[in-house]
């Protein structure tokens, strides 16, 4: 995680962003984002204080905090033990540490996954109910729900 802090854009834990977040540099996110995140070929690290209610697209995604939305990575998704992810995962590789909470589906893509509906699904995420304080329940239905 320190690698990200050295020379990347940094969103601190007191920052709240609502809307579309995009860029062409690596990002360390420790605040709150509601909407969508599209970093194309750059890396995203969500810190332990990070609270994301958005669909995410990046080259590599490392999650320490909470994410409520679908996560697509060109390369790899890494869920650390403190991570809580409710949403679908699409990547070429994934790593999940013991203790991480994950509710959703996993698609391992042989080639580069497409950034499907990052902006489009942002509306669905934004309209969803607030993220739960405990990992279990009250999650917005993000995976092939009724």
């Amino acid at each position: 995680m320190d690698n990200y802090r050295a020379d990347v854009a940094h969103i601190g834990k007191s920052v709240i962003i609502k809307g579309e977040l995009s860029g062409s540099e690596d990002l360390y996110l420790d605040g709150e984002v509601e909407g969508s995140i599209d970093l194309k070929k750059n890396n995203l690290a969500i810190g332990p204080n990070g609270r994301v209610r958005a669909n995410v697209y990046a080259r590599e995604v490392v999650i320490h905090g909470q994410v409520n939305g679908n996560v697509t990575a060109v390369d790899k998704i890494d869920l650390k033990k403190s991570a809580q992810l409710i949403g679908d995962i699409k990547a070429q590789r994934i790593a999940i540490e013991d203790g991480a909470f994950f509710k959703g589906s996993v698609d391992i893509c042989k080639g580069e996954p497409k950034a499907e509906a990052v902006g489009q699904a942002a509306h669905a995420v934004a309209a969803a109910t607030p993220a739960p304080s405990v990992p279990a329940a009250a999650a917005p239905p993000l995976i092939e729900k009724k």
């Binding site: 999940i96 909470f101 405990v134 329940a137 009724k146």
Partner: protein, 227 residues
């Protein structure tokens, strides 16, 4: 000479140890992050049901395991993960019970928030030993919901403790190691709620078309069901 005596001594020590209650070689899974591999006839048969074709949907209702994800996706399938036990023990699901000061699980809310998939979505479901740890009021509704979201001829693998398992039996996470091996890793503390008899299991899953029991280790029975 020593080589001749050694097996006899070893046998004698083992025999005396059994008689006087000495401890057996450590065969139970160890606490913490250590995993102990176990051959699983039930899982072996389950694997055969999902070997082909590619692109099946498999639902894992145990704790998230990268081993399980890698194994299932390695077969060319899509895996869905939902830790039902964590969801079921969420304190926000508790509502006041009939007796003063008591609480019960809000079954309707649980079913509204969890296991929410379209009917007949999954080709296979890994239930592990979740039923043994679920709150009583959720067991039947959860099994009914699983039946509903499983495709006809879809398979379900469930583990059940035998009556030799005590109330302090630890909760284990199951990690798939190979086509017939699973690894047990002691997980978060959940209390064993009950021990099902075989006929209870049959009754609980009576909607399923077929049911096959396998004797497992660690006071476990394994059950493979076909919808």
């Amino acid at each position: 000479m020593l080589l001749r005596i050694f097996p006899v001594v070893r046998f004698a020590v083992g025999f005396l140890s059994k008689i006087f209650g000495g401890s057996q070689p450590p065969s139970s899974p160890v606490e913490g992050g250590v995993r102990l591999a176990r051959r699983s006839a039930g899982f072996s048969h389950f694997t055969r049901t999902i070997l082909c074709p590619d692109g099946q949907k498999v639902l894992d209702l145990g704790p998230t395991s990268s081993s399980n994800i890698n194994f299932i996706t390695g077969l060319g399938h899509k895996i869905y993960n939902e830790d039902v036990l964590i969801a079921a023990t969420d304190s926000r699901l508790l509502i006041p019970g009939p007796e003063e000061g008591s609480t019960v699980v809000d079954v309707e809310r649980f079913l509204a928030e969890d296991l929410q998939y379209e009917s007949e979505s999954f080709d296979a479901v890994l239930l592990w030993d979740v039923c043994d740890y679920l709150p009583e009021s959720l067991v039947k509704p959860v099994v009914e919901r699983i039946y509903q979201i499983t495709k006809p001829r879809g398979s379900l693998l469930a583990f059940f403790h035998t009556r030799d398992a005590g109330p302090e039996t630890p909760y284990f996470r199951y990690h798939i190691k190979s086509e017939d091996m699973v690894e047990l890793q002691q997980g978060p503390h959940f209390k064993l709620q009950r021990v099902f008899q075989n006929r209870h299991v049959e009754k609980l899953f009576h909607d399923f078309a077929s049911l096959k029991f396998f004797i497992g280790r660690e006071n476990m029975r394994e059950v493979l069901l076909l919808r």
